[in-house]
Structure formats: structure tokens, C-alpha cells
């Protein structure tokens, strides 16, 4: 027999926790479920995205306007999808049946536009613009002028001085922020609560007495937190990788580098958040001896991230620059879900990130000390619920 180092002891405990959890059906199913939800979201979104394009049928001479029409409507922020139809009758048929939104036919300078009930204003504007250009060029040609004499005049535009340029990728970033915040929130809750359940399992099955006859309480606690935390890490990573891959494959996500950075930092924040809550939840769990009593002692702890997340993420998504959400994201209890969301939105200055991290790590140190004390005092007291005051002595 050799002497057993504390590192090996903690490692043994962590290994057991990790393998039991990763092999469990619940773990595999929940990972697949979250990835499935993400996939569903991507599918739904790309479906809605596609169907928002206006379907325009072109007949006769009008077939030539496909390219300029697409370009002009694009500038106006609308997507069109053009197809060529055989003739007026066929086109009208398709408009009636809803296969087409608009039919454009007839001469270029006086096109006939057919719609079912109403014409999209942007499309109307684009068509008017096209017809106007056509008419001007016709008039120029009749008067013997070259068609390009007005080119310079036509390219004159008003360029506003933009004080706060709109980020064309704001939409993607918002979605990213929301998903990152959500996944972190769920993971930290799930795996934090798993630590509390693990503590109670050892108490209710009494195995803790055999364990603590040979290892110290802090070794058991640390091993448990590391093992369960690592299994959560695997899940967060799997979700992150699957999410980025899905986003890219569907074309929803073009900011690959940015997204990879956001996911990588989210993994780090997961660890911070998990440790912060895990130690508190373990301490809370050690106060009771039966799973049925667990809910009552962990609710005060699990409610905190819910509050922070719901309030913070809504403020942040409504207005990324919201000062209250900035402050909330630096409160250690809320940092792990809100700060990564703000980072994904690209609105968190470095100093805020660093400050939040320092505060959170300080809190972890404090909670580890307090939580370790409560756990060590309470974990061997089976029977009725241990009072927090007694456990803190």
C-alpha cells in the first residue's frame, strides 16, 4: 500500500463523478435535446427567412429587368426572387394561386403589374424607378442625346454623416447573445443542482460515512465539483460546436470567427458560473438528508440566476447599451450569464469584463471557504435538517 496524495484522492472522486454522469441517459438525452432545439431554431429561421422574399414572375420584354430590379429592391432592404413565366395568362394564374406575389409583363417603358391584393411598397418604388429610368433614356434617345449624359447626375446621392453606424451584423449578434446566455443559464443551473443532488445522494444513502472515514470532506467536495463541472463543460462544448456548425451550414451565421470567440469565452464563463453556484449549492445540499427536502434549501440559491438572467437579458436585448444591464452584468451572481451575452453583442468594454471577472473570482474564493465550512460541518449529520447557523460554527 502506498500513501495516497490529496491530488489522487480528489482525482479519483472527480473521475467517478464525471464517468457516472457522462454515461447516464439523462446527460446524453439533455445534450441531444438542446442541440435538437438549436437545429429546430435554425431550420425555422431559415424557412421564415426564405419565405420573406417576394416572388416576382416576369413575362415578355420584362424578363430583362430581373437584374436591375433585384439590385434596386436590395438597396431598399427587400429581397426578391424572380422567375420567368410563359405568358400573361400563365402568370396571372400563378399570382391567383399564390405561387407568385407579383407578375410584371408588357413593354419596358409601360409594364403591366399584376398582384393578388396589394403591391409591396418597396417593390412599387423599385418598379417606378425602373420605368422612370427607361422613360428618361427613351426621351434622351429621341432627342439625339447619348444615354449616358445623365449618368453623372443620376449617381448623385446624399451621404449622411453617421455618428453611430448601425452594425449590419447586429441581428446575428443578438441571436448569438441570446443563445449563449440561455445555454449558460441552463447549464449552470443544471450542473450546479446536480452537485447538490450528489451531496444529498451520499447523505441519504449513508455512503458518506464510509467515504469520510478515509478521505477529508474538502477532498470529497472538491472532487465532486470538478467531476460534475467537467461533465457540464463537455455538454457546453458540444452545444457550442454544434451551434456554430449549424449556423454556418444554414448560412445564418457568417461571423464565424466572432462566434467562435464568443463560444470560447462562454466556456470560460461557464466554469466561473458553475464554481460560483456549485459550492453554494453543495453547502445547501449538505444541510438536508433526503432528496425531497432539497428543493427548499436550494431555491434561494437557484432563484438568483433566474432573476438576474430574466431581467438582465431582456434589458440587454432591448438596448445593448442599457446601463442597468451593464451594472447587473458585473454583479458576481449575474455575471456568468449576462457578461457573455453582452460580449456576444459586442457591447462589453474590456474594463467591465476584467472587473466582473475579478469580482466573480473573489466571490468564488469566499464561497468556497464558507461553503466548505458548512459542508464539512453538516455532511455527517443525518436526520433532521441542519440549521445554517449550526453548520457555520
Amino acid at each position: 500500500m502506498t500513501t495516497l496524495s490529496p491530488t489522487r484522492t480528489v482525482g479519483l472522486v472527480a473521475r467517478r463523478e464525471f464517468t457516472t454522469r457522462v454515461r447516464s441517459k439523462a446527460f446524453v438525452l439533455s445534450t441531444l435535446l438542446i442541440i435538437g432545439l438549436l437545429a429546430g431554431y435554425v431550420l425555422l429561421f431559415s424557412f421564415i427567412g426564405k419565405s420573406s422574399a417576394i416572388k416576382v414572375g416576369l413575362a415578355g420584354q420584362s424578363t430583362g429587368i430581373s437584374a436591375p430590379l433585384t439590385a434596386i429592391t436590395g438597396k431598399l432592404g427587400k429581397e426578391v426572387q424572380t422567375t420567368t413565366v410563359n405568358d400573361q395568362n400563365d402568370g396571372e394564374q400563378q399570382v391567383r394561386s399564390g405561387k407568385l406575389d407579383v407578375l410584371v409583363s408588357g413593354a419596358l417603358d409601360a409594364p403591366k403589374v399584376t398582384v393578388k391584393s396589394s403591391l409591396d411598397p418597396a417593390l412599387q418604388q423599385a418598379l417606378t424607378e425602373l420605368v422612370r429610368q427607361q422613360a428618361i433614356q427613351g426621351a434622351l434617345a429621341q432627342n439625339g442625346l447619348k444615354p449616358n449624359v445623365l449618368d453623372a447626375a443620376q449617381s448623385v446621392t446624399v451621404r449622411p454623416k453617421v455618428l453611430e453606424p448601425e452594425d449590419p451584423e447586429q441581428g446575428q449578434k443578438t441571436v448569438l447573445a441570446y443563445i449563449v446566455g440561455m445555454v449558460l443559464f441552463i447549464s449552470i443551473q443544471t450542473f450546479g443542482v446536480a452537485v447538490a443532488q450528489g451531496v444529498v445522494e451520499e447523505k441519504s444513502s449513508r455512503v458518506v460515512e464510509i467515504l469520510l472515514a478515509t478521505i477529508r470532506p474538502w477532498q470529497l467536495l472538491l472532487g465532486k465539483v470538478i467531476g460534475i463541472g467537467a461533465s457540464g463543460l463537455i455538454q457546453v462544448l458540444a452545444i457550442g460546436v454544434a451551434g456554430v456548425a449549424l449556423g454556418r451550414a444554414s448560412g445564418m451565421l457568417t461571423l464565424t470567427d466572432f462566434a467562435v470567440g464568443a463560444v470560447a469565452s462562454a466556456v470560460g464563463w461557464y466554469l466561473v458560473g458553475f464554481f460560483l453556484y456549485a459550492v453554494l449549492l453543495a453547502a445547501a445540499g449538505s444541510l438536508v438528508s433526503r432528496q425531497e427536502e432539497l428543493q427548499s434549501v436550494i431555491t434561494p440559491v437557484t432563484l438568483l440566476p433566474v432573476l438576474g438572467f430574466v431581467v438582465g437579458i431582456n434589458l440587454t436585448l432591448r438596448n445593448p447599451a442599457d446601463p442597468i444591464s451593464a451594472v447587473l452584468s458585473m454583479v458576481p451572481f449575474f455575471t456568468p450569464t449576462l457578461m457573455p451575452a453582452r460580449i456576444a453583442l459586442g457591447v462589453a468594454p474590456l474594463w467591465q469584463v476584467v472587473l466582473a471577472l475579478v469580482l466573480a473570482v473573489g466571490c468564488i474564493a469566499l464561497f468556497t471557504w464558507l461553503g466548505g465550512k458548512v459542508y464539512g460541518n453538516a455532511v455527517l449529520r443525518t436526520g433532521s435538517r441542519v440549521k445554517l447557523r449550526d453548520a457555520l460554527r
Binding site: M1, T2, L4, E201, E202, R206, E209, I210, T214, L380
Partner: protein, 315 residues
């Protein structure tokens, strides 16, 4: 100090003896232990008896460090028991417990590793105990799915899998079927024969009497009688049974230091006070007529124990 140097010391100092030295423990106003003291020698089976609440579990938990004593010390081989030594103790707590959802073999391997065995040694030890206790076919079943009897076998294996140098078992026989009692007895005897001090608590006094080299009877947190089974019985009051068919009731009255404790047909049982002469009883019996039987009796452990308990009730 390393395990090896401890092993060397063992030969010099108290030779692998487990010493419980003046341990006291209170729970609030309840005094659970008061100067509890006894030794369990290497190679000895020590039975720890006493009524419910006498303090057996508290003593064992303190020896294993899962409970802190208010004062006193537990030593092994002359050295206070610390985490390193505890790793070499096999323990079966009163409240049995294993991970319900862990497979029997995984569980044993894990516990052996936590006690310092390498993974391969742990696997070998787990397999050998599973085999020895007839659990090989069940090795990959979750503990919660095993029958109660098999769960108890796994629990015993958990106490033994790291080849402990000391065994502390809290009521290991409670709830066992007769076959399991035999298996348990055999294993404990074998461990003791290999030089390990073995202490266990039990309410089954006949079993303790049959199995143990020495016995400690405790009452209200204190050791009231401790010694070899024969020695303890010798120390109890001497009794005589006399079969004198012609004797009239009350024939022993007037004999100094002799009190009658029972009459069954023609057989009278008397108890002799310290210093009373058994020959005077014989002479008195002969005066009544023929004497068919005259024998000295020592109280059984059960009778000794009853004595102790009744004193407890009286006090």
C-alpha cells in the same frame, strides 16, 4: 511517517494494538461516552456489547474519525489514529450505505482506490472478494438491484477490499440470514487469525460468546466489564446446582452467604456470595438424604450481561 516505517515500528511498540484511551463525548446534555477505555490486541476478536444507546456506535465513529471526541485518544501501534492510519482500517458503519446506482464491482474498486490501492490492485482485490462472497455473477449489477442479503455481502466486501490492518464493524450480524452469519463469522475469524485486531458490536450474545476472544460490556458510555470470555464468567458469582431428592423446601436457609435462585423439581440452584464455602452447601445437602448431582456453574455471557443491564435499570 510512511506506512512502511509504521510497519517497522509496529514490532517495537504496542504491536498493532488498537487502543481506545479515555474517550469522552457529550451531545449537548447527553453524556454519550465517559472515559471509555479498552484495547483490541492484534489477532484478537473483540466483542463490544451493551444495550441500545450505551455508546457503541459513538465509540466506533470516533475511532474512525467521522466524529470528534471531546477528549481522549485512539491509538494504533502506539500512534494516534490519523487519516493515514484510517486508510488501513476496514469499517462497517451501523447505517449501511453504498452508492445505490453504482455497480457492485465498480463500487468496490473505487473504495479500494480511495484507501490507497492502485487501480490494478483494487480490481484484483474487488474480484477476489466478489468471488469469495459468491457475488461474481452479480458484479455488474447496480447495488440497489441486489437482494438485501447480497447488498450486505457487498458491504462486508467494502470493509475488507483494501486488506485492512484493523477491522471495526458496527453490528455486522444484524439482519443477516444464518448462512450469511456463518460467512461473516468465518471471515472475521480469518482476519483475526492473520494478526488483525477485529472489534465488532452485537446484540447476539451467544454469537459473541462463541466467536470472541475478549468481550467488553458497556453501560451508559462506560466500560463495566472487559476481559476474556472465560475470565469474565469466572469473575461472575459462583452458582451451584444440587439434586437432592429428599430435601425439603428451604433447606439452604441458614447457610451463610448462600442464596437460592431457583428450584426445578428436585434440583436447587444457589448462588454463593464472595467467600462462601461450597462444601458447607454439600454437607447441608447430604444431611437431607442422598445427593445425585452437585456441580459448580459459571454464569453465561447472557446472564452476566443481564446483570449489567439490570444494574443499569436500577441506577
Amino acid at each position: 511517517m510512511t506506512w512502511n516505517s509504521l510497519q517497522e515500528r509496529k514490532t517495537a511498540v504496542a504491536e498493532g494494538v488498537l487502543e481506545i484511551d479515555r474517550i469522552s463525548k457529550r451531545y449537548g446534555d447527553v453524556v454519550a461516552l465517559r472515559d471509555m477505555t479498552f484495547d483490541v490486541r492484534a489477532g484478537e476478536l473483540f466483542g463490544f456489547v451493551g444495550s441500545n444507546g450505551a455508546g457503541k456506535t459513538t465509540t466506533m465513529r470516533i475511532a474512525l474519525g467521522v466524529l470528534a471526541a471531546d477528549s481522549g485518544e485512539v491509538r494504533w501501534s502506539g500512534r494516534p489514529v490519523d487519516l493515514e492510519i484510517r486508510r488501513h482500517i476496514g469499517y462497517m458503519p451501523e447505517e449501511r450505505g453504498l452508492y445505490p446506482k453504482m455497480k457492485a464491482r465498480d463500487q468496490l474498486v473505487y473504495l479500494a482506490e480511495l484507501h490507497g490501492l492502485s487501480t490494478s490492485d483494487a480490481q484484483r482485490a474487488a474480484d477476489s472478494w466478489l468471488d469469495r462472497l459468491g457475488l461474481t455473477a452479480r458484479r455488474d449489477e447496480e447495488v440497489q438491484k441486489l437482494s438485501l442479503g447480497n447488498q450486505q455481502r457487498v458491504q462486508l466486501a467494502a470493509a475488507l477490499v483494501h486488506d485492512p490492518a484493523v477491522l471495526v464493524l458496527d453490528e455486522p450480524f444484524s439482519g443477516l440470514d444464518p448462512v450469511a452469519v456463518d460467512v461473516m463469522s468465518e471471515v472475521l475469524r480469518e482476519k483475526a487469525a492473520s494478526g488483525v485486531p477485529v472489534v465488532f458490536s452485537s446484540h447476539q450474545l451467544d454469537l459473541v460468546e462463541r466467536l470472541c476472544d475478549r468481550v467488553g460490556i458497556i453501560r451508559s458510555g462506560q466500560m463495566v466489564a472487559c476481559g476474556g470470555v472465560g475470565e469474565l464468567r469466572e469473575s461472575g458469582p459462583l452458582r451451584l446446582t444440587v439434586d437432592a431428592p429428599r430435601a425439603q423446601p428451604g433447606w439452604t436457609a441458614g447457610l451463610a452467604g448462600v442464596s437460592e435462585v431457583g428450584v426445578h423439581g428436585t434440583v436447587t440452584t444457589v448462588e454463593l456470595a464472595e467467600g462462601a464455602d461450597d462444601q458447607e452447601v454439600l454437607a447441608a445437602a447430604l444431611r437431607t438424604g442422598p445427593v445425585r448431582e452437585f456441580s459448580r456453574l459459571r454464569p453465561t455471557l447472557t446472564e452476566l450481561y443481564r446483570n449489567v443491564v439490570s444494574q443499569e435499570k436500577a441506577s
